[in-house]
């Protein structure tokens, strides 16, 4: 493992991954891979999650194609130096922030969207000019295998590599030194990743989870709300980090909500849900059993059927759920929707705030003020109002958690930034030393005044005009006469002295 990381580091050090053209070639190769090998990719995802290939395409592949196109279109702008505002002392200098690659990054994926959660970060890492190791989840075996097979066929094998394996391989990998680690998964392992990263002072992005609350106000379009919630909750059989985990609403709404979701489920998946090609299965037996245990002792208003052989769990709704019961203690990550009654929005807000900050938060209401209030008085990674999931799809919005739901963010420009070091650069010349003399010892009170003026003066329009006039005068003098250090310095100082007197009168 160490040798593999070393190899990538050597390749990175050669500088090959830095030119924009190279990065774009790699991204185009990825795009070709996704398009040419679509069938293989889709059947791998479909096999892992019992998902139809159509769904695999719309859930995962589309996102990646979109992300690659975004990077290809925006890379020159993203990678360019951004000029920074200057103060007087640096007026004639170049000041900018230059994005640079970090080096060798590690991307650890999760099993629920096994393709997207490796590829989307990878696109960002490549765009930012890094070398990368990806470690797909071993639980989504087929996708892990296909990534290991395809990525080396399309990407530069010295800079990008796939490592597969279980806990022991991942542990070994985490002992190595990386320049950034992006991990998608659960809280417990998130802590382990950060602890391992601490040994090397490696910055991390942790995309974790939590229980994403969904508050349904009595003043909302209940039909639409239930339709949207049904879609977001049961997609991928509930195995989505930003699925609405549980519903909070007034008791009087419960029955109607159950009814409407029941109807929607029928619309979406038909009478015999098991036969619907659009309804997935639980990833493995362990999670199946875990979810089954969450149903114990609960009031099942709808659904609840399970079949161990196919790891099928029906779309299920629980009502009158006790906040202290097991189903309300952990992220569900399955097709079970508890409804917890609250008296009003105040209670809902308190309920949410008594718990860990979630990855996503949802509010359904016609009342925009109420939505704003819930946002103002709670915290979460992201929010969608009057819908679910959708904030994920806007790639001008950063996607990430806060508190126990994670740290850092990515998607689009944020991926690029996550995998870059934004390096501030100030380029001065070797001339102009007379001005510098103000800062050198031996010091005096007047020097202090000057130093403060130069360092701290904020630029106002009037000041800019004055300085430009002074500079023009100096430039004119320079053109007419040969360069002479002394007069030039004095002229500049004189104009600045006047300017400073005006500034000093405001700041003592």
């Amino acid at each position: 493992m160490e040798r593999q990381v070393q190899r990538l580091r050597q390749a990175f050090r050669s500088g090959r991954s830095r030119p924009l053209r190279f990065r774009m070639q790699q991204l185009e190769a990825l795009k070709r891979m996704v398009q040419e090998r679509e069938k293989d990719i889709l059947s791998a995802i479909a096999a892992d999650l019992s998902k139809s290939e159509l769904n695999a395409y719309s859930h995962e592949v589309i996102t990646i194609l979109g992300e690659i196109d975004f990077m290809l279109a925006n890379l020159p702008e993203l990678a360019s130096a951004k000029p920074a505002k200057k103060n007087l002392l640096t007026m004639l200098d170049e000041a900018y922030v230059q994005p640079e690659p970090l080096g060798v990054v590690l991307i650890i994926g999760a099993w629920n969207y096994p393709f997207v959660l490796i590829m989307q970060p990878l696109v960002g890492a490549i765009a930012a000019g890094n070398a990368a190791i990806v470690k797909p989840s071993e639980l989504s075996e087929n996708t892990a295998k296909i990534l290991a097979k395809l990525l080396p066929q399309y990407l530069d094998q010295d800079l990008y590599s796939v490592v597969n394996g279980g806990v022991s391989e991942t542990t070994e990998l985490l002992k190595q030194r990386f320049d950034h680690i992006l991990y998608t998964g659960n809280t417990a392992v998130g802590k382990i990743v950060m602890e391992a990263a601490a040994k090397h002072l490696t910055p991390v992005t942790l995309e974790l989870g939590g229980k994403s609350p969904c508050y349904i106000d009595r003043d909302c379009d209940l039909d639409i709300a239930c339709r949207r919630i049904t879609w977001g909750k049961y997609m991928n059989c509930g195995q989505t980090c930003i699925a609405p985990d549980y519903v909070l609403c007034e008791a009087s709404l419960q029955d109607r909500i159950v009814q409407k979701i029941k109807e929607t489920v029928k619309d979406f998946y038909g009478e015999n849900i098991k036969e619907s090609p659009d309804y997935e299965r639980i990833i493995n037996l362990r999670h199946f059993k875990r979810l089954q245990s969450l149903l114990e002792g609960q009031k099942i208003a709808f659904g609840g059927e399970t079949d161990e052989v196919t790891r099928y769990i029906a779309p299920t709704i629980l009502t009158d759920v006790d906040p202290n019961s097991k189903v309300m203690q952990e992220e569900i990550f399955g097709p079970i929707l508890p409804i917890v009654s609250v008296k009003n929005v105040d209670e809902a807000i308190n309920f949410i705030n008594d718990r860990e900050k979630p990855l996503a938060l949802y509010i359904f209401s016609h009342n925009n003020k109420l939505i704003k209030r819930v946002i103002d008085e709670t915290s979460s990674g992201g929010v969608t109002g009057n819908d679910v999931i959708m904030h994920f799809t806007v790639n001008s919005l950063p996607f990430g958690g806060v508190g126990a739901s994670g740290m850092g963010a990515y998607h689009g420009k944020y991926s690029f930034d996550t995998f870059s070091h934004q390096r501030p650069c100030l380029l001065k010349g070797l001339k102009g030393e007379s001005v510098n003399k103000l800062r050198y010892p031996p010091n005096s009170q007047s020097k202090i005044g000057w130093a403060k003026f130069f360092l701290l003066k904020q630029f106002s329009r009037g000041g800019l005009v004055m300085l430009m006039v002074a500079c023009l005068a100096v430039a004119a003098a320079m053109i007419v006469k040969k360069y002479q250090a002394l007069p030039r310095g004095n002229a500049l100082l004189a104009s600045l002295a006047v300017h400073r007197l005006r500034w000093s009168s405001k700041h003592s």
Partner: protein, 468 residues
């Protein structure tokens, strides 16, 4: 449990009441910080002189004025920084409201070192308060005079239900770190940085680590040696070298060294006189431990300038060492003192290799008449920040982010970057209940036809990505 538990609980409760959120509250706190600096300027200067023998010039310029400037900048920009940041939308969300909400994290811990004890307290504090957090401040126990003022005087200027100062040494800090914070901002060394990050990992607390390293200073041939010497000397011996962004060592050719050394002597004499120990403009080493450490480094290479030391005064003369080997102790650790080793290299390539063999530094300096040389150094190395043809001037521009990379740190701050560092960037999408017909395309039963329609619609507007 321990003495911190109550304090932290109270601060958290205060945060949960929403007290720190309104702009008026934050502005009032920031104004309090401004008054603290103005009312206590004299005492602060005296304390800095006591702790580090800082001259009035250095105190004013590198501690008080910089802190004041950050307070003023935050006050001027607070409301605009706090505003929701609107973002561009894709086709599916055209009629919706999409923005990034900046929110406080909650309870923030700021751990401060001893070398710029006022600056490195106030600048992060301004950011944390402006962003609406409650703050626990842990000043350095090593800069005792400032620690006292921060503990006894500063709280009077702030709302004490939302701000607390916690005192102690490594043991107390370790205990403090066992508690849960919502953000930790640490300035110091890499060794403790790792401990802070490991502690933060237990609670999944995001962090900023402002660490250090050996900041290389490459000097090209054909430079005006005196100008280079002036600049390098000033930044090296400022605060007796106890600056995380000071040029740590010089890389240059043998010929350049021969010009630089006399020029450095010239600069040192001009700045500090013939007997620098009597100059009011030169600082002292913070304590015995560091003094002894630095004294040990004086034996490396050959002393070309300075080399004197006086334990009773914690004084070390502005020193230049030559004939230094890469393996010697002075090239193994961050010097953090008024000692400047010169390492000779044959050419630019050798210098760049030398730099890249080592950990990424916090700052990197290159002096050259030729801009291609500067650009080459920039392109072929990495560092937290970079300044061409000067010392740490890039730090004085609050429009530039300040932070490290690799073992010199993670995260950044100053100006607006401070505000962003202490804020959670919360992605918000507010949709209308309408437009359900379009949403219908995303619902099961999935069909190729619906998918095709969606894709066609997206292609026309070159929509970036979707999960429909």
């Amino acid at each position: 449990m321990d003495s911190f538990e109550d304090t932290l609980r109270q601060l958290r409760e205060a945060f949960n009441t929403g007290r720190t959120r309104p702009a008026e509250f934050r502005a009032a706190q920031l104004q309090g910080l401004g008054r603290f600096l103005r009312d206590n300027k004299q005492q602060l200067q005296e304390a800095l002189a006591q702790d580090l023998h800082k001259s009035t010039f250095e105190s004013e310029v590198s501690e008080i004025a910089i802190s004041q400037a950050e307070v003023d900048l935050a006050l001027r920009n607070l409301r605009s920084w706090m505003k929701d940041e609107k973002v561009s939308k894709n086709l599916a969300t055209q009629l919706d409201s999409a923005f990034i909400r900046k929110e406080p994290f909650g309870l923030v811990l700021i751990i401060v070192p001893w070398n710029y004890p006022l600056n490195l307290t106030l600048v992060p504090l301004v950011g944390a308060i402006a962003a609406g957090n409650c703050v626990v401040l842990k000043p350095s126990e090593t800069s005792k005079a400032i620690e006292k003022i921060l503990a006894e005087v500063l709280p009077r200027y702030l709302d004490q239900s939302c701000f607390a100062v916690v005192l102690g040494g490594p043991q107390e800090t370790g205990q403090l770190l066992e508690h849960r914070f919502d953000y930790i901002f640490y300035t110091g060394n890499a060794y403790v940085g790792k401990i802070v990050m490991a502690a933060a990992a237990k609670h999944l607390t995001p962090i900023t680590l402002e660490l250090g390293g050996k900041n290389p200073c490459y000097v090209d041939d054909n430079c005006n040696a005196q100008i280079v010497a002036n600049r390098v000397a000033w930044f090296r011996y400022f605060n007796a070298g106890q600056t995380c962004v000071a040029p740590d060592y010089i890389l240059c050719s043998q010929e350049m060294q021969e010009q630089l050394v006399p020029a450095l002597q010239n600069a040192i004499t001009r700045f500090y006189g013939d007997n620098p120990q009597t100059s009011p403009n030169l600082g002292r080493i913070i304590n015995q431990k560091h003094f002894k450490r630095l004294q040990g480094l004086l034996g490396c290479g050959r002393v070309a300038i300075g080399g004197q030391s006086d334990e009773s005064d914690l004084y070390i003369a502005p020193t230049v060492l030559v004939d230094v080997q890469e393996t010697e102790p002075v090239m193994q650790e961050e010097i953090f003192g008024p000692i400047l080793p010169v390492v000779t290299v044959k050419n630019l390539d050798e210098a760049i290799d030398f730099i890249n063999r080592r950990e990424k530094p916090l700052s990197l300096y290159a002096f050259s008449k030729r801009s291609q040389v500067i650009k080459q150094v920039l392109a072929r190395t990495s560092s937290g920040g970079f300044c061409g043809n000067d010392g740490f001037m890039h730090m004085t521009l609050s429009s530039l982010p300040f932070g490290g990379v690799g073992s010199s740190g993670m995260g950044r701050y100053h100006g607006k970057f401070s505000f962003d560092t202490f804020s959670n960037q919360r992605a918000c999408l507010l949709r209308s209940p309408g437009m359900e017909k379009i949403n219908d395309l995303r619902y099961p039963p999935y069909s190729r036809r619906n998918l095709r329609l969606l894709l066609v619609a997206m292609e026309e507007r070159s929509c970036s990505c979707t999960l429909l």
